[in-house]
């Protein structure tokens, strides 16, 4: 596996574009529309928010993914097209139809995603003008521009690409994402678009994406909330040399490994750029009866406000970590609980060790911190990535909409 330059345009047969449509404020020159296009029909798979309230574009793009073939994804920031009723559904369709007509493809081959303010109808005139500019401006070197156009409270664009050998062939993956809070509605959303030039069926792609998302976006948290617009889309256009990737083969495993790697890179970037984040914390849990149990414990620790605030304070507060494990809902023997911070044991068999405060303080001052929690002798293990909870988080979220 080799990291390469670029983002969604890195795989063969993909182009992209970005434009400033003034969606949030007419006349603004900030890029707020992005288009990703495959030269040929691509397999598409998607994972979407499980929120009961789903934005109109999520409903539209879910349909595209069921069908499994797509040529393009159009994304706007500045307006989430959520809680917009029947008008919102029609606006999502109109957008897809407009892009399809300009690209001369079927409307059912155009996915749309939106992120931004909730409850305000899309400014369709400006949006379609932006889509028009995107179609006119499609090019091979627009990975960064597209990643920039989908940002909301993000402080930097997030994109990456890699090349992976799958048996004889070398396939490429490209990705872009936006996040900042896992959600920030009256702003919404985590979005990620992944492209690959591998040849793979939509069904197979769905399986690989399911695995990749479980190991990436589903084990991060910034603020635990889940938006109405969260979506991960993956398009595979088969432009690379080599045959089709079939299920239960070494090629499929190598493909899934590459896909998971780009997804994890994006997921970590979301945590690093989490609203107000000053620390990147990895929680590793092992010794539970199953991976699912380990995941449950890791999630409870990663989501705890008290744990996250302690990291911001650079305070080796293992008591809060033990406590979150205790209320995670997983049964374990408290007498077998062990905790390490940056490799230093601070709790062993349920009781504090005699660690040197200055050693642990040094660990806590690092920008990246590793927490290891051991709960017994079971085979289960899992990890979770989280950020700290800072003044800046409160500031951003208390003041955003006003």
């Amino acid at each position: 596996m080799m990291w390469i330059d670029g983002g969604v345009c890195a795989p063969r047969g993909f182009r992209a574009a970005a434009a400033a449509a003034g969606i949030k404020r007419p006349g603004s020159t900030r890029k707020d529309c992005a288009l990703v296009v495959s030269d040929v029909p691509a397999s598409i798979a998607g994972m979407f928010t499980t929120n009961r309230i789903q934005a109109a574009p999520v409903q539209w793009s879910r349909g595209i993914c069921i069908r499994g073939i797509a040529r393009a994804v159009f994304i706007n920031s500045g307006n989430a097209n959520a809680c917009t009723g029947q008008q919102g559904i029609e606006d999502a369709q109109t957008t897809a139809a407009f892009v399809a007509q300009r690209l001369n493809v079927a409307v059912t081959e155009v996915a749309v995603l939106s992120t931004g303010v909730i409850g305000v109808p899309l400014p369709m005139d400006r949006l379609l003008a932006g889509a028009d500019a995107c179609v006119a401006g499609l090019r091979k070197d627009a990975s960064a521009a597209a990643a920039e156009a989908i940002m909301t409270t993000d402080t930097r664009p997030k994109y990456t690409a890699l090349e992976q050998s799958t048996g004889g062939a070398r396939v490429r993956f490209g990705a872009m994402a936006k996040g900042a809070g896992m959600i920030a509605p009256n702003l919404a959303t985590m979005l990620c678009v992944i492209t690959t030039d591998a040849r793979i069926s939509a069904e197979c792609l769905r399986e690989a994406l399911g695995y990749a998302v479980r190991e990436s976006f589903n084990c991060i948290c910034v603020d635990n909330d889940m938006s109405t617009n969260d979506a991960v889309l993956c398009l595979a256009n088969g432009a690379a040399e080599g045959g089709e990737i079939l299920p239960n083969t070494p090629e499929f495993e190598a493909f899934t490994e590459g896909l998971t790697a780009v997804a994890q890179a994006m997921a970590k970037e979301l945590v690093r750029d989490g609203e107000g984040a000053t620390k990147f914390v990895t929680i590793r849990v092992h010794g539970t009866r199953s991976d699912e149990e380990a995941r449950q414990v890791a999630a409870a620790i990663a989501k705890s406000q008290l744990v996250k605030t302690a990291f911001f304070g650079e305070d080796a507060n293992w008591g809060r970590i033990a406590c979150a494990a205790g209320y995670s809902g997983v049964l374990f023997d408290p007498g077998e609980l062990g905790i390490r911070l940056g490799g230093i044991p601070v709790m062993h068999e349920g009781m504090p060790t005699s660690y040197r405060e200055e050693d642990v303080s040094r660990v806590m001052r690092e920008a990246e911190i590793e927490v290891e929690v051991s709960l017994g002798n079971g085979p289960g293990k899992a990890h979770f990535w989280t950020s700290d909870l800072s003044y800046e988080y409160v500031k951003i979220n208390a003041e955003y909409r006003s």
Copy 2:
């Protein structure tokens, strides 16, 4: 029902005391021990943390409540006696035995509770000296002093009392509590002690307390974490006139109503004095299929970091409220979702109303805010009390231990 002066000493036949034992820092003059004693054996019931890691005093006092008879509750702040292994268990027993011997009652009649730093053995010499001073100083007017002694990060003592007519008789309830965060370990805990002079069996008391806690401490949140030491104890000594309160009678209902009222008063005080709290927010949910569903939605909204930060920012961010309802796990038709802020409809049938921003802004600037969420025509309803999430919360929890 009539609110009266005092706290745990307000019911007949209860005395209390407080002392400074220097538990956290030798020589400190801050009160950190409290004792509540009934003149005669009392029925006792308790509700304890469901955290898998339970502090030694919780394990001890749970045993007392199973037996159902008690004369005294001894509480210390400054040290939680949690994650202290076998030594912790022995220390809790030693404390109970010491108090029992000095009061000339059975060791099985003395409950003990602790709150404070985790993972540090109790300083038994100083603790027992404090217990000794408490026994020597028992008096009828120590409600406030006892409430003060159990504080940790609380900014003020919390206690209340009321008199309730149960048929012919008038019984009194007194209570004291501490909280601040629902938990703050390496500090732990929410604690509450309720006294009443009603005559009621331990079994009956258990049922009434279960109801009262469900309607009070179980529908508040400050920071969602659940400590290793959380406990609510209720002692009923029968010193009031009137016969025994029997199950399924109007007297039992009146008793439960009084008990619930003091518990709710204490629960609200915990939220009002929540770490860094500047707002007291009531979330009311109705229209679900069951009360349990309504409770689940109310809890999701009350616990959302984004909702709580919006309240701190005085931002009428109904999108975050809708979003939290959406991911609560309860199925509902998004097209039936309605939200009112301070009585003003801001969302109706899944879409924003045309409310006047200045009206809603006025509501958001209040210290107490009411949020009403309607999800359809079902009979379910529930409420939850929560606070906002402020800079001060982050400050307190980032800096506490250091």
